[in-house]
């Protein structure tokens, strides 16, 4: 789960990290009031889950409250990568001396959380990694002890020659580490970490990504989810305990298991079609999940054919068959459906489907080819 910049900053502030004052606003009038309260030049920053906000015109410098109101009028309601801007962060504009990067990610290779720090901040760290990798220091943290002060200090001195600044940065890194663990992050970054002309070290932008598997035990963090910034179909799917990602094609896919779901999408493409979505109904056998899956898929007008691909292990295929029958009785399908079922209770499932006027195949390639042909307006092979 991604947090907005303002949410990440609110969290990091509670851990003591120095962050310029700022507040969230949803209307130009609010923006003006916050800017007046700050009483200095401000930045108005669009709060959407998309990179490249600045390039898209979603981040503006405003010399006073009146300008802030004017710029906010343009930013609120604009679209950045298909996401409508509904909130802006109004924050004090800081004078910038130098910009550094400080981030923590969970690294698959070392199987540890790893600090990445670089004096070349303010830009995309991937770009720094690609062009000047020697400018990045990587520091894996031993999970048994956590980040130690001397380690933070080593990184601080990698960033800054000035001892006062190095120590200030070290303190921020220790605070960031504590926040990272307590908030269940898979990524946390401060970019840029700024040294002001007065020599103060402050975090001017922040990003946090929460490990979805942490949300059950961190209800306060889970409550930060902003559903208005997600596709409605994905919100709906998550509530039904389904993993759903909308794509651009027209073959709606319902599959059990993430690997098989990806392989099914790939096979749709292999046979000349385009998948409309990734949808994993997971391992449990629950007819209700199938009903929800069908509801979500059929709500997408671009779907021209529906493909079920179920390999029953834990999932009982008769439960899936019952789900299909229940769902289509309540809401008759307007597009053709192709069903592939095999595995646990396959004979029973086939009988249920046949008794209710559906046909099903046990071969994955056959089913995918049929669905692709139907989506193109052709007849089933």
């Amino acid at each position: 789960m991604n947090l907005h910049e303002y949410q990440a900053k609110d969290i990091l502030r509670t851990y003591g990290i120095p962050i310029p004052p700022g507040e969230i606003a949803t209307s130009p009038a609010q923006v003006e009031a916050i800017a007046a309260k700050i009483g200095a030049a401000v930045m108005v920053k669009a709060q959407v889950h998309a990179g490249g906000r600045g390039k898209a015109g979603g981040v503006k410098f405003c010399k006073d409250a009146a300008t802030a109101r004017e710029k906010a009028t343009a930013i609120l309601g604009m679209k950045i990568k298909e996401l409508t801007v509904e909130k802006v962060l109004v924050t004090k504009a800081e004078d910038i001396g130098t910009e550094a990067y400080v981030g923590i990610i969970v690294d698959r290779k070392t199987k540890k959380a790893v600090f990445m720090v670089s004096a070349a901040g303010g830009i995309d760290i991937e770009e720094v990694a690609a062009t000047t990798p020697e400018k990045i220091l990587y520091h894996p943290v031993d999970p048994r002890y956590g980040l130690q002060p001397f380690e933070a200090q080593q990184m601080g001195f990698f960033l800054y020659g000035d001892a006062k600044q190095a120590r200030a940065a070290a303190k921020i890194m220790l605070q960031l580490w504590t926040a990272f663990v307590a908030t269940g992050c898979s990524l946390a970054e401060i970019n840029p970490l700024v040294v002001t002309p007065a020599g103060e070290v402050i975090a001017v932008d922040a990003k946090m990504v929460i490990d979805d598997n942490e949300l059950d035990r961190l209800p306060a963090v889970a409550a930060l989810r902003d559903e208005s910034s997600e596709a409605p179909s994905e919100v709906d799917a998550r509530k039904a305990n389904l993993t759903f990602i909308k794509l651009d094609g027209n073959v709606g896919c319902v599959v059990n298991g993430a690997g098989l779901a990806m392989a099914t999408m790939d096979l749709v493409k292999y046979y000349g079609g385009e998948p409309a979505n990734f949808l994993d109904i997971g391992g449990s056998s629950n007819p209700e999940k199938v009903v929800n899956a069908l509801r979500i898929i059929t709500a997408d007008p671009s779907v021209k054919a529906i493909l079920f691909n179920i390999f029953g292990g834990i999932t009982r295929t008769d439960d899936v068959a019952n789900g299909i029958v229940t769902a289509t009785k309540a809401n008759p399908l307007k597009v053709p459906i192709v069903i592939r079922l095999t595995g646990t209770n396959e004979e029973l499932a086939m009988k249920i489907l046949k008794d209710n006027g559906f046909s099903a195949s046990s071969d994955m390639d056959e089913a995918v080819q049929q669905a692709v042909a139907l989506a193109k307006g052709g007849k089933a092979a």
């Binding site: 969970v106 598997n213 942490e214 690997g259 790939d266």
Partner: protein, 290 residues
Amino acid sequence: MSVFIDRNTKLVVQGITGRDGSFHTKQMIEYGTQVVAGVTPGKGGQKFEGTVPIFNTVADAVKATGANTSVIYVPPQFAADAMMEAAAAGVKLVVCITEGVPVLDMTRVYPYVKETGARLVGPNCPGLITPGESKVGIIPGRICTPGNVGVVSRSGTLTYEVVYQLTRAGIGQTTCVGIGGDPINGTNFIDALEAFERDPKTRAVAMMGEIGGTDEQEAADFVKHHMKKPVVGFIAGQTAPPGRRMGHAGAIISGSAGTAAEKIDAFKSAGMGVAQRPKDFVQLIQERLK
């Protein structure tokens, strides 16, 4: 022969009285696995299905029964502790089926288990099966048949699909190992490939990877430099959009690392066979067994 599990595997089931644990314990017993003990704290002294003794702790279970392998079906918030408990009790192979284990938990579990010398498989995996001998986890027994192909995969149902197609074509398996789809897992592709290379009965290996990370690229490098046996690979997620998590926490492409194209290129340059579809495994493996 086989890898990691065989008919001498003596299994303790952690979470044996839970919904998933009890269902799959019955299936494992039915398959012929030696299930010697179960663990549910507070239910020590009872018996599962009137036959399998239940203990309060893994240490008690190991002491009383000599269990050498553990399988874990506990809820995600208890899984990290369960893995460490099994390793601390002296179990040599710990298999964690549980899905949804926080990755920061795994940063602690991984070094802990490693220091005890135990092997961890998973979490978020379907487990292992040595057809005709033993099954630890949830892979459906009837889709497998004994033979001489090793199978290793990051996914569950995709593994079933490939194994099913192999079995239907008369190609049996030595052992199928599901290593799981999480970013931090115990056993990786290289560990399994190394075991298959050493196993005298295994003559070829089928390997199913996914987008995300660089495990498959490193595995390809291992195949190139350290394996004489032929390996056929497949990558799921060739059409997945970058930056999106595809169900498996591990299946996310970030930047240039972890795309399907990159992994397939690595397979090709290692001289591996590349299956474009799951069904292609049949022909590619057949050619390599001749």
